[in-house]
C-alpha cells in the first residue's frame, strides 16, 4: 500500500511539473514582446518604457530561456508566483486571502451533492420503473442547465421572491448563522448538477453490480436482500462513484467562479475576473497552478481511496 501511494504521488508530481512547463511556455508564445503586451494591457494602450522594463525584469525575459525556466520553477516550489501587476505586491498572499471562501463553497457543495446524489441513485436503482426514469430524466436536465443560470434562478425565487435567504453579500464567521445562510444558495447551485451526475453513476453502477454472478451467489446463500445490497452491491458500486466525484470536484472549482459572480461572493471569482480584464498575468497564472494542483491532489486522494476499497487497483 505504501509503495502504491508513493507511486501515485510521484505521478502527481510529474504531472504538476508538466502543467507548470505548459504554463511557462504558453506565456512565451505571445506574438511579439510579452513584456510590452502585458504592460500595455493587451495592446489597448501605450506602455511606458519603464513599465515594459519592469515586467521584462519580473518575468526574467532578459535572461536566457533555460535560466528563466529554472527561476520560474524554483519560485513556484517556494510558493512564489510573482508580483501582481495591479497591486504591486506578491501574488500568493492575495490569492490566499480569498481561497478559503471558495474552498468553503466547494466543500459544502460536495457534501450536499454526494449525499443527495447517492441517495437518489440508490432510490432509483432499488425502485426501478417510473422512479428510475424520473431520476434519470432529471439528471440529464440538471446537467444541461448552466450553473450561473441555476444560481440566478435560485437568487430570484428563494432570495428575491420568497425572501428566505440573502441574495448575496458576505458575513464572516463572527456570525456563524449569518455566514451559513450566505453559503446555502451558492452551495445548492453548485450541488445540483453534481448530485445529478453522482445519482446517474450510482444508479447505473448499482444496476450493473446487481447483475453480477457473485450477487446471485450471495443471494442463494440465503442472505437477506438488505444485507446483500448494503454489504456487497453498494460497497462494490462505490468505486465508480468515487472516481466521478474526484473528476467533478476539479470541474466544480471552475464553476465556483460563475456562482460567486452571481451572488457577489468574495471568493477567487472577482479577483480572477478583474485580473483577466487587466491582463494581470501573475494572478491568473497563480490561480491556474493552484487549481491544477488541487485537481491533481484530489485525484491522488481518489486513487488511494480506490486502492483501499478495491485491492486489485493497487497492482495497476
Amino acid at each position: 500500500m505504501v509503495a502504491y501511494i508513493a507511486r501515485r504521488l510521484a505521478t502527481g508530481v510529474g504531472l504538476l511539473f508538466l502543467v507548470l512547463t505548459l504554463i511557462f511556455f504558453v506565456i512565451r508564445t505571445v506574438p511579439g514582446d510579452p513584456a510590452a503586451l502585458l504592460a500595455s494591457g493587451g495592446g489597448s494602450g501605450e506602455a511606458s518604457p519603464e513599465a515594459i522594463e519592469r515586467i521584462r525584469e519580473q518575468l526574467g525575459l532578459d535572461q536566457p530561456l533555460w535560466a528563466q525556466y529554472l527561476g520560474y520553477l524554483a519560485g513556484v516550489v517556494r510558493g512564489d508566483f510573482g508580483v501582481s501587476f495591479q497591486f504591486g505586491t506578491d501574488v500568493t498572499p492575495i490569492i490566499m486571502a480569498r481561497l478559503p471562501n471558495t474552498l468553503q463553497l466547494v466543500l459544502g457543495a460536495v457534501l450536499i451533492g454526494v449525499t443527495v446524489g447517492v441517495l437518489l441513485g440508490i432510490i432509483a436503482a432499488r425502485r426501478g420503473g417510473v422512479v428510475s426514469t424520473v431520476v434519470t430524466a432529471m439528471g440529464s436536465f440538471a446537467i444541461s442547465v448552466p450553473v450561473y443560470v441555476l444560481a440566478t434562478v435560485l437568487a430570484y425565487v428563494v432570495a428575491l421572491q420568497l425572501r428566505w435567504l440573502p441574495a448575496g453579500g458576505f458575513v464572516g464567521w463572527e456570525d456563524p448563522v449569518g455566514h451559513l445562510r450566505i453559503l446555502v444558495l451558492p452551495c445548492i447551485a453548485l450541488a445540483v448538477p453534481f448530485s445529478a451526475i453522482v445519482a446517474t453513476i450510482t444508479r447505473s453502477g448499482l444496476v450493473e453490480t446487481a447483475q453480477q454472478d457473485w450477487v446471485r451467489t450471495a443471494r442463494s446463500w440465503g442472505l437477506s436482500p438488505g444485507s446483500v445490497f448494503g454489504r456487497h452491491v453498494l460497497r462494490n458500486s462505490l468505486t465508480a462513484v468515487l472516481t466521478i466525484v474526484g473528476l467533478e470536484i476539479g470541474l466544480m472549482f471552475g464553476s465556483t467562479i460563475l456562482v460567486e459572480q452571481v451572488f457577489s461572493y468574495p471568493g477567487l471569482s472577482q479577483l480572477l475576473i478583474k485580473a483577466v480584464e487587466q491582463r494581470d498575468y501573475p494572478i491568473v497564472q497563480g490561480v491556474a497552478i493552484l487549481a491544477a494542483g488541487f485537481f491533481i491532489m484530489i485525484n491522488i486522494v481518489v486513487d488511494v481511496l480506490y486502492g483501499v476499497l478495491d485491492p486489485r487497483a493497487r497492482r495497476r
Binding site: 504531472l15 502543467v19 505548459l22 440529464s140 448552466p146 440566478t152 470541474l251 471552475g254 475576473i273 491568473v284
Partner: protein, 282 residues
C-alpha cells in the same frame, strides 16, 4: 433497409424528434433573423424595458431599448457558429492525437496521451480558458481555439481506446500485408471503424461548448460586448432581476433548451450507432 429504419426509430424517441425540431427551427430562425428583425445593436431611448408582446418588439426590449428577440437570435447565431467551429477543431485535432497515440504506440503514445491529454485535463476548463484569454485577449477566435483544444482531449481519449482495439483487427493486418501506405490504412481502415463514438461525442461537445462559451460570456470574457450572446445577456439582466426577470429568463430558457437538445441528440445517436445494438437487430 427496413431494419435500418427500424433501428433508427428505436434509437430516436419522441424526445429526440422534439430536440431535432427545436434545433432546426432555431438555426433557421437565427439565419433569417437579420432580414426580418430590427438591428440587435440599435438603441432606442424611448422604448426601454418594453414588456413582452409590444408591437414591433415581440419579446420586448432591454435597458437600452434594444430588441430582445433580435439580440437573442444574433446571440444564438454566434453561439452556434462558435460551438460548431469548436467541435470541428476538437474532432479533427483529438481524433488525430488519439489515433496517432494508439496506432504508433511507445513514444507517440507517451507524448499524446500521457503528456498532452493528461496535462490539459489537469485544469478546470474554465480556468484554462481564462488563462488563455488573459494572454491573447477575448473574442471568437481565441474562444474557438481554446475550447477546441480543451474538448479535443475527450475525442483523443475515445479515438485512442477505439484504435487500440481496431489496430489488431484482421482487416488492418490484411491492408498491411498487401502493402497499403500507413495513411491509407489510417483513413480507409481505422477511421471508418472508430467513427461512431466520435460522432456521438461531437453532439455532446456542441452542448459542452455552448455551456462553456455562455459561461465565459457571462463573465464578460468570452464574446465581447456589445455583440450579443446568451451569457452576456443574462449577465446584463442581473441588475434588473427584481423588476424585469424576463430579460434573464428568456435567454436562459433558450440556452438550456439548446444544450439539452444537443445532449438528447447525442444520447439518440449513441443508441443508434452502438454496435452491440446493431448486432441485436440484425
Amino acid at each position: 433497409m427496413k431494419r435500418k429504419l427500424q433501428r433508427a426509430r428505436d434509437a430516436f424517441g419522441p424526445m429526440q424528434v422534439i430536440a431535432l425540431t427545436f434545433l432546426v427551427l432555431l438555426i433557421v430562425l437565427s439565419m433569417v433573423a437579420p432580414a426580418i428583425l430590427p438591428d440587435p445593436l440599435a438603441q432606442d431611448g424611448s422604448h426601454t424595458f418594453a414588456p413582452l408582446g409590444t408591437s414591433g418588439h415581440i419579446l420586448g426590449t432591454d435597458a437600452f431599448g434594444r430588441d430582445l428577440l433580435a439580440r437573442l437570435m444574433a446571440g444564438v447565431r454566434t453561439e452556434l457558429m462558435v460551438a460548431f467551429a469548436t467541435t470541428l477543431v476538437a474532432l479533427v485535432l483529438g481524433t488525430a492525437l488519439g489515433i496517432a497515440g494508439a496506432y504508433f504506440g511507445s513514444v507517440a503514445e507517451t507524448v499524446t496521451m500521457r503528456i498532452i491529454v493528461d496535462v490539459i485535463l489537469a485544469f478546470p476548463p474554465i480556468i484554462f480558458a481564462l488563462l488563455i484569454v488573459t494572454i491573447y485577449g477575448p473574442g471568437p477566435i481565441t474562444l474557438t481555439a481554446t475550447m477546441g483544444v480543451l474538448f479535443a482531449m475527450s475525442f483523443a481519449r475515445i479515438a485512442y481506446g477505439q484504435t487500440l482495439t481496431v489496430r489488431r483487427a484482421e482487416y488492418v493486418d490484411a491492408a498491411h500485408a498487401y502493402g497499403a501506405p500507413t495513411m491509407t490504412i489510417l483513413f480507409r481502415a481505422v477511421l471508418p471503424n472508430i467513427s461512431a463514438p466520435l460522432i456521438v461525442q461531437a453532439s455532446l461537445t456542441m452542448a459542452a461548448a455552448i455551456l462553456l462559451e455562455s459561461g465565459l460570456s457571462f463573465l464578460g470574457l468570452g464574446l465581447v460586448p456589445p455583440a450579443p450572446s446568451m451569457g452576456s445577456m443574462i449577465a446584463d439582466g442581473q441588475r434588473y432581476l427584481a423588476t424585469d426577470p424576463q430579460l434573464i429568463l428568456i435567454p436562459s430558457v433558450v440556452v438550456v433548451l439548446t444544450i439539452l437538445s444537443f445532449s438528447l441528440l447525442g444520447d439518440g445517436l449513441g443508441r443508434w450507432l452502438d454496435p452491440r445494438r446493431r448486432n441485436a437487430h440484425g
